[in-house]
């Protein structure tokens, strides 16, 4: 078949040569276009195309210059020139010929001429002046087509200065008998209005005439003008409201000829236009708005959902309803309509639904509430555009309570889409925002960098960050805020290896060292820098550099607080420790136990996690809300107060818990992992934290605030047992997210209590029984200072009993023997003494025969690094000689503060009344959500409590409805005989447990065992 085509194509010239009188022997231009296209499509490279087009342009140039070329040939040439221009090759020599063609050609040639002119030229082109007369002539032509062409070119582009020359003629066309001419004239005048508003001021009355034109097409065209005019100045056109409403009513009512229907919708585009105009007119104007309520309702009602174009009308209608003065009945209907959009499976409609929501939540944020789950789903949508619109929506509903979560989501989005942009933006944010910034922001940023699989994209992001920081450091660093420097150090320390191809391995090292030398660098930053340098000690050059730096730093930074005697050791330790930096990570920090227990024994306040402290604070300040309180029933007002209080701090809790994953069972870091894998960091929401926040997600709000306990108030309605929803985990996760995103919206503010035991807390928890070396004082002290400023003083006081050597925040503790302590919020390195004065048995428990496995001469080094403000990243290293006990589980039990084994508990048999009294008298409490055990033949609550009872020797005092109370006491140990009470309440599919005891650590250890017991079942 291709033969046929070929033949036909080759026959073309002869066919066409009939026509080419002048250029005898030449190929027909038409065929030339064919050949050109054929040639181009056969090419494979851009370069070849360029060559071919250049050749083609040469030949066009030749032809247009030739006096023999007729207008008809010129027309074909112009088409070719248009084609070349479209491909991006300038054919400027042909412009003048295009104008000539428009001036002199017959109607058809003129048309091509005008077309070429409108494609080639623009308003500012001087060539256009040559066209003015032609346009004028054509406007006055009797040939309709010529008039149309002139009007079209005028509306495409016309020199501003020349408008007066043709304005009267165009105006005249408004009364032209032909509808199409009137219509084009209206649009041409609109264009004039846009480029030179003053020049058409006098014809505003004529616009009104156009609006009232008997032809709907002309009227439609005039709406373009009115939309613009009313948008600019709605006040002057209020009188048109009636007309617009009438027009819309007629259109909606199907008064237009059927020609105007599109998919059996009467003139949809016209309706859209009118609705927009009404929105501008009715905005903030009750009187005007009232005029249009009826027709808006009619529009909503008439628009049956059958075609996209109806949705277009509905969308516009909803927007108008929410723009004009509100009418509740209409708003309801519009909200319903938005629901249809949002829930639609059609992605375009979903997008518009989100857009509509974004628009309306500015007036009423509660409108987003019914669509929470959809919004959450859209956050993870594969379409970036949908995602972005969702973020836009979230941005609109941002309030003090959900800002952290939303910003986090936004950062995530940014990381996915705009690597380079993201880094650059964050760079400027850091350098400008600097130290006034919330510590969360750098933390999140570091997390984003550290997170994710090690794929190419992630690596690129990191590499880009590294490169940009290196170049930053090469410049003037004096102005950079400390926090930014810290971020830079961390990133360089972690990811400098990515630019290993670089020639000089010591370059980054030197840059960092320069930072140390600068006077303005704070101690905290220095420790970050040092931390980074330790990570970089991989080549001999760097090690030498590091040694240098180390010595200089140690001797210069704080000569008074460090004794000369020990500093070589310290620097050596640092170096050794660093070159063996990727060893093993023991995030349970079990070796600190001794210190903690000692501190506790000395009367130090036990560590409280920030949220616990805050809770204490709340309890001090707010009204008492004890479930077993005597002041029953709790008044509603007090409920709402605490509600608000707890609510307000929930975002902080969220960010806390997102930073630190908390489940002890998941803290198994692998030995020998070579990089700082911030395990657990990614888990934004731990399993335990999933409060089923159905209050906000579902339609039936149930206040989370504890109601008067049914045990003590029998008249209270039987609490409904909520069956654990069959929702799978991801679902819960989404609900969780929803609750955090939509917190603060709606009248029923839900309490968002996500409480994960933080790493910090666990760490403390695991450190409380055994006794280790004094060295850990230093370690732990540092950590303590960092993690808990308020507890600092107490601890300082207790630990410095023997050796109260405190100098600012620098401190050296010499109790246990030689040690190194490089101070800083960021990093601590410690060499423990070889012989510690510890209880040998405990030591054995902790580290089975460490001395045997460790070569004598190799000093031990512990390095801590905490994140900014002690959130992520937190990591801990020690050198390889020392193995971590194989099974940490083995001694985890021993480390429990309250009791060691399950069997250490005794059931405590009390009556409900006694329980209530005891509850009130106990001061140490803890709240947590636990997993519910589900069995086939039992209520989840009963099953769960039974499981706990079996495992932990608890006494179930009573179960009423969805709540149960449980009691136990300690069999042996320091707190022998001390009771602990549990109050359990089924909350959707988790068990909210509230523990109380007179002994501070008992609730926590019991909780830990409960968690463990439930995990095992």
């Amino acid at each position: 078949m291709s033969d046929v085509v070929e033949k036909t194509l080759s026959a073309l010239p002869s066919l066409l040569s009939l026509d080419s009188q002048a250029g005898a022997g030449k190929l027909s231009p038409s065929s030339k276009l064919g050949n050109l296209i054929k040639g181009i499509t056969e090419l494979t490279s851009k370069h070849e195309e360029e060559k071919l087009i250049k050749k083609e342009l040469e030949s066009i140039k030749e032809q247009v210059a030739s006096p023999n070329t007729t207008m008809r040939q010129m027309k074909e040439i112009m088409v070719r020139a248009i084609y070349c221009e479209m491909l991006g090759y300038q054919a400027s020599f042909s412009y003048i010929h295009a104008i000539k063609l428009a001036q002199q050609g017959s109607v058809l040639e003129k048309r091509v001429g005008y077309l070429a002119v409108s494609l080639f030229l623009n308003e500012t082109d001087e060539f256009l002046l040559l066209l003015v007369n032609t346009v004028l002539k054509d406007l006055q032509s009797t040939n309709l087509i010529e008039v149309c062409m002139a009007l079209t070119v005028v509306s495409q582009m016309f020199p501003k200065d020349m408008i007066p020359a043709i304005l009267p003629v165009v105006e005249e066309k408004l009364t032209h008998p032909k509808e199409i001419i009137r219509r084009k004239a209206v649009l041409a005048l609109y264009k004039f209005y846009l480029i030179a508003p003053n020049q058409v001021q006098h014809i505003h009355s004529k616009f009104r005439k156009a609006l009232c034109d008997k032809d709907p097409g002309v009227m439609t065209a005039s709406l373009h003008i009115y939309l613009q005019l009313i948008k600019e100045n709605p006040e002057s056109y209020k009188d048109l409201t009636g007309s617009m409403v009438t027009i819309l009513r007629q259109v909606v009512g199907g008064k237009l000829p059927l020609d105007f229907n599109y998919h059996s919708v009467p003139a949809p585009w016209l309706q859209i236009q009118l609705l927009r105009i009404l929105a501008y007119l009715g905005k903030e104007d009750q009187g005007t708005s009232e005029m249009m309520y009826d027709v808006l309702e009619e529009s909503l009602r008439r628009a049956e959902m059958n075609h996209n174009i109806t949705y277009a009308i509905l969308f516009e209608c909803v927007k108008t309803i929410y723009t004009v003065h509100p009418k509740s009945q209409l708003l309801e209907k519009a909200a319903e309509c938005i629901g249809n959009f949002v829930l639609s499976p059609k992605i375009n409609l979903k997008y518009l639904g989100l857009k509509a929501l974004t628009y309306v939540v500015q007036q009423d944020a509660n409108l987003a509430l019914p669509h929470q789950m959809t919004i959450i789903e859209c956050l993870d949508h594969s379409d970036v555009i949908i995602k972005r619109e969702t973020l836009e929506l979230l941005f609109r509903i941002t309030n003090a309570q959900n800002v952290t979560v939303i910003v986090e989501k936004m950062l995530e989005f940014l990381r996915l889409t705009y690597n380079v942009w993201f880094i650059q933006t964050m760079n400027s944010v850091f350098s400008l925002g600097g130290d006034v910034m919330q510590p969360d922001i750098p933390n999140n940023f570091l997390r984003l960098l550290a997170e994710g699989v090690d794929n190419v994209e992630d690596r690129q992001l990191r590499l880009f960050a590294v490169d940009s920081y290196v170049s930053l450091l090469q410049g003037v660093t004096a102005k950079l805020p400390q926090r930014f420097l810290q971020v830079i150090s961390w990133v360089l320390g972690e990811y400098s290896y990515l630019r290993e191809e670089e020639s000089d391995p010591g370059s980054v090292m030197r840059l960092l060292a320069r930072l140390l030398d600068q006077r303005h660098t704070s101690t905290e930053t220095r420790s970050w820098v040092l931390g980074a340098m330790t990570k970089l000690c991989s080549s001999p050059v760097s090690v030498a550099l590091a040694r240098d730096v180390c010595e200089r730093y140690l001797s210069s930074l704080c000569p008074t607080s460090f004794s000369r005697r020990s500093y070589p050791e310290r620097s050596r330790a640092l170096l050794k420790g660093t070159s063996a930096c990727f060893l093993c990570v023991d995030s349970s920090l079990s070796f600190l136990d001794g210190y903690v227990s000692e501190a506790l024994a000395a009367g130090a306040a036990p560590y409280k996690s920030p949220h616990q402290r805050q809770e204490d604070l709340v309890q001090e300040k707010a009204l008492s809300l004890e479930p077993y309180g005597l002041s029953l029933p709790v008044s509603l007002s007090s409920c709402s107060i605490t509600d608000r209080l707890t609510d307000r701090r929930s975002p902080t809790l969220l960010s806390m818990s997102s930073g630190l994953s908390g489940n002890s069972t998941e803290l198994s870091h692998q030995e020998g992992s070579t990089t700082l894998k911030l395990e657990g960091v990614k888990r934004v929401w731990g399993k335990d934290g999933y409060l089923a926040q159905q209050q906000s997600a579902g339609e039936t709000p149930t206040p989370l605030v504890e109601l008067p306990n049914p045990l003590l108030s029998p008249q209270s309605p039987p609490s409904q047992t909520q069956k654990p929803s069959s929702g799978l985990e991801p679902d819960q996760e989404k609900r969780q997210l929803a609750s955090s995103l939509f917190v603060g919206l709606g009248s029923h503010n839900s309490v968002c209590l996500v409480r994960l035991p933080s790493t910090v807390w666990l760490f403390i928890k695991h450190c409380q029984s055994a006794n280790q070396s004094h060295v850990f004082k230093a370690l732990f002290k540092r950590f303590y200072i960092n993690s808990c400023q308020s507890a600092l003083r107490t601890l300082d006081h207790t630990t410095s009993n023997g050796n109260p050597h405190v100098e600012g925040t620098e401190q050296r503790v010499e109790a246990g023997g030689p040690l190194s302590l490089i101070r800083g919020n960021g990093m601590v390195a410690v060499v423990p003494p070889t012989h510690t004065q510890t209880d040998p048995q405990t030591q054995q428990d902790l580290h089975p025969a460490p001395a045997l496995e460790r070569p004598r001469d190799l000093p031990l080094v512990y390095i801590f690094q905490t994140g900014l403000n002690n959130k992520v990243p937190f990591s801990f290293f020690r050198n390889p000689g020392w193995k971590i006990p194989e099974s940490r589980q083995k001694y985890q039990g021993i480390l429990q503060p309250g009791f060691k084994k399950n069997t250490d508990l005794l059931p405590l048999t009390v009556s409900t009344g006694d329980y209530g009294k005891m509850w009130l008298s106990f001061s140490h409490d803890l709240k947590q959500n636990l997993r519910l055990v589900t069995t086939e033949h039992q209520e989840p609550l009963t099953a769960t409590l039974d499981a706990l009872k079996g495992k932990l020797h608890l006494h179930v005092v009573d179960i009423i409805g969805s709540e149960g109370i449980v009691a136990c006491r300690l069999l042996q140990g320091p707190g022998q005989g001390q009771p602990c009470l549990l109050h359990c309440r089924v909350n959707a599919d988790s068990l909210a447990v509230w523990l109380r005891s007179p002994v501070p650590e008992l609730p926590d250890s019991l909780l830990y065992h409960c968690q463990k017991a439930l995990t095992e079942t």
């Binding site: 066919l15 949809p268 594969s382």
Partner: protein, 193 residues
């Protein structure tokens, strides 16, 4: 207001470009490339709206596009246009092309750039929607074509010849002119996804 109407094929080759706002030649080419880049990497099952590229005004402007077989039809509009309205307009445009060219294909757009422009001029004028009624557009275009025929006389020969060629062979032309599947499958106009 409509800022630009672009048609390009699956490989990014422009088939029609019409700007209603002034950009320099270079910028126009970059806009076409950028738009192609933005649009072509979108899956089939995502929405038909996009934020405009940087060159054409970023988030101020929206790209509304449809993909038919080998061709992308992209309208770049500002915030005053209704997304679904424009989507409908693209459909009208394609239907009209289909009627005018009788089963339109990519080749028609290549060989008859001027005609396509003329059809477009009846729909959109200076960036404003002029006419959305397909029959009306066709009437206008036909009126001009009729004139072409009556005026052309002997000059009509080339047009006739070309149309003869097209009727005979064009469906098979891709063998010579390697532009892939040339037939724009105008769907039976079911509502899109």
């Amino acid at each position: 207001m409509i800022k630009a109407i672009l048609i390009f094929n699956n490989h990014g080759k422009p088939r029609l470009s019409k700007f209603y706002e002034h950009y320099s030649e270079d910028t126009e080419q970059q806009i076409i490339r950028e738009t192609f880049h933005l649009v072509s990497k979108r899956d089939e099952n995502v929405c038909n709206f996009l934020e405009g590229g940087m060159l054409i005004g970023g988030s101020e402007n929206k790209l509304i596009y449809r993909h038919y077989a080998t061709l992308y039809f992209v309208f770049c509009v500002d915030s005053s246009e209704s997304e679904l309205g424009i989507l409908g307009l693209i459909q009208v445009f394609v239907e009209t092309l289909d009627k005018c060219f009788e089963n339109v294909c990519e080749l028609d757009l290549i060989f008859h750039v001027d005609k396509v422009h003329n059809i477009l001029a009846e729909m959109v004028m200076g960036g404003m929607v002029l006419e959305t009624n397909m029959n009306e557009i066709i009437t206008q275009v036909d009126a001009q074509n009729k004139m072409e025929k009556s005026e052309a006389g002997i000059a009509g020969a080339p047009a006739r010849a070309v149309s003869a060629v097209k009727n005979m062979n064009l469906p098979e032309m891709p063998r010579n002119i390697n532009i892939g599947d040339i037939s724009i499958k105008v769907p039976n106009l079911p509502s899109f996804k």
